[in-house]
Symmetry: C2
Subunit: 659 residues, 2 copies
């Protein structure tokens, strides 16, 4: 049967995405110099994504050959490739609009905050709505060809999305932070240049990084969470003894309601005030309220159990709580952030110590929130409740992704305004939006991390069904072994990413120092730095560093499943999901807080810009960079890749495990 | 029945400890100036431990009142108080000898490496053998009054030891690193003073910290692991359906064999070479080989199953593997350490990024090792096998603790030699031993962390028996909730410790700066700094910072057990143990590697002392300090406190849980 309604709403979302793209591209792209700068960022970004696609392609081919030997192999391959392609398309499309929206936002800033804000939000909406459009269309079409007995093929689609997301997050994350750290360490610390100074040879690479990391990476990540969550809910539905078609339709209705809720939110995200936080809260708030109302109406009118609605509502509430708590912990001028700024008086050492402490602290409420959401949804509607709670939360994807993409667009707009020496009136506008964008990047990360954890919890339930486990006894030492390995995984995985940034940034620092030393007139602005060389260094090193973490995430569950068996693999998921969740929060929030602690000092506190405390806080910011933008977010993708491959290969583990 | 043999070997260990103390104290205590310096450190250390005892006393009283309402309440209180008192006694005694051994080691260094090494090792042996002496005597006596039906009372003894250990680790850890960071940040970074420069107002506080943290804290920690492991094995034995007295006697035999093995190791820990690493490896190696031979003889001659021996052996092998792998990862001049030194060229930011990466990386092999040990011992002898594997590993306690206490003794000896301006010939000897002591502090930490994790795994089995759970289903969302909270616990706990160090160190930095500014002639050595003021600041702040983490560790399992019930509490342990293990490794090893990366640069690499890379690496060392000496090791104590209180209050959770 064809799932018309979800297909229809998927198409609706895609149409809106196209409309938003047209609206954005029609805006004035500014002066020739601005366009040149934008073009440099754009070509660097595209070059990177194209080369990254080659690496991913190789993985896709190898894995496809492997999957061929599974039952329903060719169908799984089709689903897998579709998942991978749509995921990359989302990332690619979103980024390509973002790199055009940035210069238009800078230009619009001449007219004031309202116009610039609107341009950036519209640019972001292209990604947001493309993600849910592709997701809903893909799943609706695939599901139409499947029956309850072979619905498991859907996991191939989820795995495809996960794989690409992992690449995009890891590669993009390494890229963006190597460039950023490299640019800052010499530019800010040694040469006292401001952010985005065109004399800094790493400045274009830094701006490219914002796009391939924050924009393409985040888009693929959240797209994946969206798809995988829907798949998990559908798999759980299929695994329930009394499975009937209603259990399949409900999650799709909720997703469709989310399309409407997200569209509604676009009406509220407008502002003329320089402090535009309120507009974003209004956007999320309206998306949640409208979605909840429609969700309730669907539940009530179509005769579903109200318990289902309770589960969905717990997911929706979780979304806003995670958004708000991240803001509370890491927002500029918050108590925890000021603690770090204070510690900066003692030097870089105490700044980082306090930053790590704050990062660790920020894990508390998110864990309590997710625990409550899991328990509420479970007691309302059993394990199916957990599945649809996740769907409820992720039904907000378009809005969250719109707000998130707003970040790199305004960040780049600020960069272009600075590099093109636009008048200070304009730069004040772009700076204000840039600061807001920094906050939204942090807060939407809270959503992405929570969404990944909740969706992985749902996948864990689906995994147990797939390997025919009805009880997973944590007292069994084989399971204990799996749990230990699962808790280990996020640490080892993060280690490789941190190392990649540390190494590449060091190379970058030496290149920047070299250019400053050898290219005469670079500091006076008379000679142009060799931007391309810097871009090239990061590109090559990011791609090189991609492979090991990828293989680690894919191979670990396969090895554990084959050697220690399905119970140990279940243990691995049990150990991995909570530990990764807490680690991701620690890293993302800790990094964001250290960033904002620096910004707080820059407002003139504790000696202000140029003081010793400020220098110390710049070191803290540098350490926080790969924590918040490389390792932290990449864990989201990692846990979903591990979970989906475990489900996908469940039949293999059942048959061939050693233990 | 009286457990004569284990009692006898306990007394033997204690006698050796007394003999070692006499030998140490008879050594020449050096010049009047050296004794004055040693006295200052000693009085500061004693003052701190006395004040800390008051805080602990309050907790003991409150908890005793609570325990009175349990079944067998008064017996539990007796066991609890005995456990707490013997633990504090071990810490107190060990530290009091160490603060006298330090000056004697410095004096002995005049005669050469051999004499100094011997003095420091003998001083360390006092703590090492006192720990196993008190432990074996206490458990043997208590057990003699108990029967299989009420053997659970023993957990009171274990909890007493755990509670004190948590205080000693947390308080000592905060003390030592606040003083150290405070001393370094101004002394080394701002004023270019060497380590242990008497002009630095924080120098005495720094040396006190070595004693109350590394010496007393570590002694209480490992004493606790020793006691708790024996208790866990005995509880598991009691919980086995066909429990017979043989299952009780076996772990005590293994512990007794460990006394002999450790005594044997004392014969091998002698050297005249400046690089004395070999002597320490010989010590551990001989302890393991002798113990293993006696273990096998006992197993064979007394007719136990050889499978038991296999389990014990897996524990012994785990000990040497953890020791060696920590050396491999964090030892001076190792590949991972050099990676950090290299990154220091990029600045403090990249140094710390790489340091964190290395710390994360070092978790891999220890996890694999412990997983293999758990599986081997389980498949050899069931859950009882896990219990006796832990006993096997911890039977090496005396040797490990001797080697560990060697660290602060030589560290202080170096400090005294520096402050008393001893001739460079002498200082070369103390410096060499100091460097070795730094390595052993790191490697024995690997043992302590692994021992804590293995013993906690055994306690987890005992917990399940205590709450009458035969299956703990990780698919039950209530258990999942517990797992999430368990994974959260080490993060929140560490956050408070890092914060305490960050804050206190900042206060200390300002005090040192103030003294340098206001006390004239301090930098030329004409005026004496106000050491006491610095000592006082750290003492007050460390004691203040103690309470919250303590309450957190005690209250969390109680709240989860009462609100969510015993299954969720089981989940909490499942989530906490592996995550804490990996976190502790990350922190302890990451910190040690950053420390040694700095030392590597100081050997003249990458610009050597005073270069920019060196300054960057000092920041890395500062960040690593609280990771490796405060937060990391404290997690050992935390997981055991949480585990033992969960078992102790099991009857309450069975009867009164809400869910």
């Amino acid at each position: 049967m064809l799932y018309y309604y979800s297909l229809a709403f998927g198409i609706l979302a895609l149409l809106f995405s196209i409309a938003a793209a047209i609206i954005t591209l029609k805006k004035d792209a500014g002066t020739k110099q601005m366009q040149e700068l934008s073009d440099a960022v754009r070509s660097g970004s595209s070059a990177y994504l194209n080369r990254q696609a080659m690496t991913i392609g190789a993985f896709v081919v190898v894995l496809s050959i492997l999957f061929y030997f599974l039952q329903n192999g060719s169908q799984i391959i089709i689903a897998f490739v579709t998942g991978a392609v749509t995921s990359y398309l989302t990332a690619y499309l979103g980024m390509n609009v973002a790199v055009r929206a940035n210069v238009r936002t800078a230009k619009a800033a001449e007219k004031g905050v309202g116009a610039a804000f609107y341009t950036a939000i519209m640019g972001g909406a292209v990604t947001g709505f493309a993600a849910i459009g592709f997701g809903l269309i893909g799943i609706s079409l695939l599901l139409s060809y499947l029956t309850i007995s072979n619905v498991a093929i859907l996991i191939g689609f989820g795995f495809g999305a996960s794989l690409v997301s992992l690449f995009a997050r890891v590669g993009g994350g390494i890229y963006t932070k190597s460039a950023d750290v490299g640019a800052d360490l010499v530019g800010k610390t040694e040469l006292n240049m401001p952010e985005d100074d065109p004399r800094n040879p790493a400045v274009i690479a830094d701006n490219v990084g914002d796009n391939v990391g924050d924009c393409a990476g985040m888009a693929a990540d959240v797209y994946e969470s969206y798809v995988v969550t829907l798949v998990a809910a559908l798999l759980i539905a299929a695994g329930i003894a009394a499975a009937h078609v209603q259990l399949f339709t409900y999650p799709l209705y909720i997703a469709a309601a989310g399309v409407v809720g997200s569209l509604a939110s676009m009406l509220f995200m407008k502002t003329k005030k320089r402090n535009a936080t309120g507009a974003l809260y209004k956007g999320i708030g309206s998306a949640i309220i409208v979605s909840a109302i429609i969700d309730y109406a669907i539940t009530y009118l179509l005769g579903f159990s109200v318990d289902y609605f309770v589960a969905v509502l717990s997911g929706l509430v979780l979304a806003i709580l995670l958004f708000a708590i991240t803001d509370y912990y890491t927002g500029s001028g918050r108590r925890q952030v000021i603690k770090i700024s204070e510690a900066a008086r003692g030097g870089a050492g105490t700044d980082v110590i306090m930053g790590l402490s704050v990062g660790l602290r920020t894990t508390f409420f998110p864990v309590i929130f997710i625990v409550v959401a899991i328990l509420v949804s479970y007691f309302a509607a059993g394990v199916y409740g957990i599945g649809i709670a996740a769907v409820g939360m992720l039904s907000l994807t378009a809005t969250i992704l719109t707000i998130d993409s707003f970040g790199p667009i305004t960040d780049n707009a600020g960069g272009i305004a600075e590099m093109a020496h636009l008048p200070s009136r304009v730069r004040n506008v772009t700076d204000a939006l840039d600061a807001l964008g920094n906050t939204t990047k942090a807060t939407t990360k809270g959503f992405a991390i929570g969404g990944a954890a909740l969706s992985a919890t749902a996948l864990f339930v689906a995994f147990a069904q797939a390997v025919h486990i009805s009880v997973l006894d944590a007292l069994n030492p084989v399971v204990t072994a799996g749990i230990f390995i699962g808790a280990l995984l996020p640490f080892i995985f993060s280690s490789f990413l941190m190392e990649a940034v540390g190494k590449t940034a060091t190379i970058m620092v030496e290149e920047v120092r070299r250019q400053v030393r050898t290219i005469k007139g670079i500091l006076t602005g008379k000679a142009k730095p060799d931007y391309a060389k810097a871009v090239d260094i990061v590109t090559v090193n990011a791609l090189k560093a991609l492979v090991v973490p990828e293989v680690l995430a894919i191979a670990t569950p396969i090895i554990v499943g084959l050697v220690l068996g399905k119970a140990a693999l279940g243990g691995l998921l049990v150990g991995m999901i909570p530990t990764s969740f807490v680690m991701a929060l620690f890293m993302a929030n800790g990094g964001a807080a250290m960033d904002n602690a620096k910004k707080y000092i820059e407002t003139g506190k504790f000696g202000g810009k140029g003081s010793d405390a400020h220098k110390a806080s710049v070191v803290g910011d540098t350490v926080g960079d790969p924590l918040k933008d490389t390792a932290g977010p990449a864990l989201n993708s990692m846990i979903k890749v591990v979970s989906t491959i475990s489900i996908l290969l469940a039949p293999v583990f059942i048959t061939y495990a050693l233990l």
